[in-house]
């Protein structure tokens, strides 16, 4: 099936009433989640995952994907209007976005953010449509050794791109791999780490793990912030509908930042660990670097909004490439979508386009439609999103916990899963307070079975010889890249700590002189 045929088939699937509704519902929830600080796309996808059990695989993924890229749109609203990022990837938008709002230009900021997101999202979908099929065909050449090497590269990249300590990121990845090894071993069916508990023989469920780590722990962290509830005055800078449209000059100033942001974001999104945060920060840094007036950044320049917002949306579409063609999720939210596909009996990977074209092309086509929905939702309905910000904490957070409990229980109708939910809630809380990132843990949990089974299959095929991992050019290149990434990370960490030590000695010396 060529691309044009595929897209026609995809639009045929996406335009059914059920899928249109799923898409609309997904982007609506995504925008709401993006607007509301506290719960992110991972938590909301985890919460709504049980709802998808009664849907077919295509509708389920369309809805969950809509939530994911929808949050990229919603996050900018609070960044611009109240200087509080709705999502982590909108942090950078606060810098110039809020300044624009303070200067009475909230409308163009919101408008260019929405239009830029739409353009970038469309470019991202085109990239996905064009690149995914040839990549999937290439990936058909992958055997167990290549898959093992690819997963190792994914872990190396996740560690390298971690915003905190690489060592801690790798520790989390290993913890995820260990959680994944609980249950019956794949080949010998020997129970591992079940400690005699029959509930653990089928392993730890994805839903209680995710909901606990992202839902319950996030609620507890948010509730920890004691103090009187402050009413957010988002209406102060909220523009009227006709003020949302950027001027000709705004468009002229934003054209290249949107274009560059889309490309940067898309390429970063393809990488495992390459998130919307990395994309938006990279775009801002580049725009500032190449601008003729870098001193204007931070004072309310539209380029500082257009570039990052485009980048994080394009990254959201790019993240679907490794998921749908290789079965490798790039982050925790995407890992959840992978989990949803598995629950529905669809295994994403090189054969997805061939065996389930309705899922692949349906999801791609729905992204075009979803981007249109998001443009409509984010411009005329700004007032509604602004009102959402004043939902009291004492209503929102207990409801989230309630939905987590229902979600965890409803997977297998097993009370043990509710216990697991609270265990992971506690664990997630402790890990976040200790500055451990959870995305590598999720990746480890999802990719653990793939890593172990591909390693064992490779060894069985080679009769126990290790040279199978370097016998194919693809596996050798992937392993070399993993080594290079780890080496680069180690060298840059050592250089940074040497520079810090030198700076510290300089400061001590100058203090002694004084």
């Amino acid at each position: 099936m060529d691309i044009l045929q595929g897209m026609l088939h995809g639009f045929g699937v996406a335009f059914t009433p059920a899928n249109l509704l799923a898409c609309f519902f997904g982007v609506l929830i995504g925008t709401a989640v993006g607007v509301l600080p506290g719960i992110g796309p991972s938590g909301s996808i985890a919460l709504l995952l049980p709802l998808t059990f009664s849907m077919d695989a295509t509708s389920a993924v369309i809805m969950l994907a809509g939530i994911y890229y929808g949050t990229m749109y919603g996050g900018s609203t609070t960044s611009i209007l109240i200087n509080v990022p709705g999502e982590a990837q909108s942090v950078i938008t606060c810098i110039d976005g809020f300044q624009m709002a303070s200067q009475g230009r909230a409308g163009p900021a919101l408008g260019i953010s929405a239009f830029g997101s739409f353009i970038a999202g469309t470019i991202g979908v085109i990239g996905l449509m064009v690149l995914a099929p040839p990549l999937a065909r290439f990936a058909l050449e992958f055997g167990p050794a290549e898959i093992f090497s690819l997963v190792l590269l994914a872990f190396a990249l996740v560690g390298y791109l971690a915003s905190g300590s690489m060592v801690k990121a790798l520790m989390m990845a290993i913890l995820g791999l260990l959680f994944a090894s609980v249950g019956m071993e794949i080949i010998t069916a020997v129970p591992r780490f079940t400690f005699g508990n029959v509930n653990l023989q089928s392993g730890i469920g994805l839903v209680p793990l995710i909901m606990g780590l992202f839902g319950v722990s996030e609620v507890i962290l948010s509730l920890e912030e004691t103090g009187p509830e402050v009413e957010i005055n988002a209406k102060k800078y909220a523009p009227r509908f006709w003020e949302l449209f950027p001027t000709r000059k705004d468009w002229k100033d934003s054209f290249w930042p949107i274009t560059r942001g889309s490309l940067i974001g898309f390429l970063i999104g393809i990488l495992p660990g390459g998130s919307g945060i990395v994309a938006s920060f990279s775009s801002y840094a580049i725009e500032k670097k190449i601008s003729r007036h870098p001193e204007k950044f931070g004072q309310g320049t539209i380029e500082g909004v257009a570039g990052p917002e485009s980048a994080n949306n394009a990254a959201a579409q790019g993240a679907f490439i490794p998921l749908l063609t290789l079965g490798i999720p790039g982050g925790s939210a995407i890992a959840l979508i992978l989990g949803a596909l598995r629950i529905h009996g669809v295994i994403p990977g090189p054969l997805l386009i061939k065996e389930h074209p309705e899922v692949f092309w349906g999801v791609v086509a729905s992204m075009y439609i979803g981007n249109f929905f998001l443009l409509i939702l984010n411009l005329p309905l700004i007032g509604m999103w602004v009102r959402l910000l004043n939902i009291p904490k004492y209503l929102l957070y207990p409801m989230i916990v309630l939905f987590c409990i229902i979600g965890a229980y409803s997977v297998d109708n097993n009370l043990f899963d509710v216990g697991l939910l609270f265990f992971f809630g506690f664990l997630g809380y402790v890990l976040k307070r200790l500055n451990f990132e959870l995305a590598p843990l999720i990746l480890g949990f999802i990719l653990g079975p793939i890593l172990e089974s591909s390693a064992k299959q490779a060894l069985i095929m080679s009769g126990g010889r290790l040279d199978i991992f370097v016998s194919s050019p693809i596996a050798t290149v992937l392993l070399s890249l993993s080594g290079l990434v780890i080496l680069t990370a180690v060298v840059s960490t050592l250089r940074r700590s040497k520079a810090m030590e030198a700076l510290k000695r300089e400061m001590e010396a100058s203090m002694d002189k004084e």
């Binding site: 790798l170 916990v401 809380y429």
Partner: protein, 148 residues
């Protein structure tokens, strides 16, 4: 930072426990790995990385330790205590009754102004949950000794 070092030590211990348990499962050899082979090496890597973390702690750890702010710690303690009590009583009280009590407790803890308001919010919420999940989606929630 002390809490960072304690966390690293906990992971060292975890890694060692995993290695011991994996060895019990049978490692066999690299040419024909047994069920404990992969977890054994995961445990080993965990121990190595934890030692690295112990020797070079992350300087970006939040400055405040858990136990420095009792006000904050108090609310977290009460939330987890409530969750534990919820779990213990779930089978006995049944899902609806136990969750109703939990909801009232969480709303009050989250800054809901009075118990009366918490109850007025929780009861209709549980009725909606019963209709949607209990009757429409027919999820078989556990019923307690009262049959609710």
């Amino acid at each position: 930072m002390l809490q960072d070092r304690i966390a690293s030590l906990v992971f060292v211990v975890l890694g060692i426990v995993v290695m011991i348990e994996s060895a019990r499962l049978s490692l066999d050899n690299i040419h024909n790995p047994g069920p404990g082979f992969v977890p054994f090496f995961l445990g080993l890597f965990m121990v190595i990385l934890s030692f690295l973390s112990l020797m070079a702690p992350d300087k970006k750890v939040r400055a405040e330790a858990f136990w420095n702010n009792w006000q904050r710690g108090k609310s977290t303690f009460f939330i987890f205590a409530g969750m534990l009590v919820y779990l213990v009583l779930l089978k006995m009280m049944g899902f609806y009754l136990d969750t109703l009590c939990c909801l009232i407790y969480l709303i009050k803890l989250s800054g809901g102004r009075s118990f009366k308001r918490s109850i007025l919010i929780s009861i209709p919420t549980m009725i909606v949950i019963y209709i949607i999940f209990g009757r429409l989606l027919i999820i078989p929630f556990p019923r307690g000794i009262l049959g609710i």
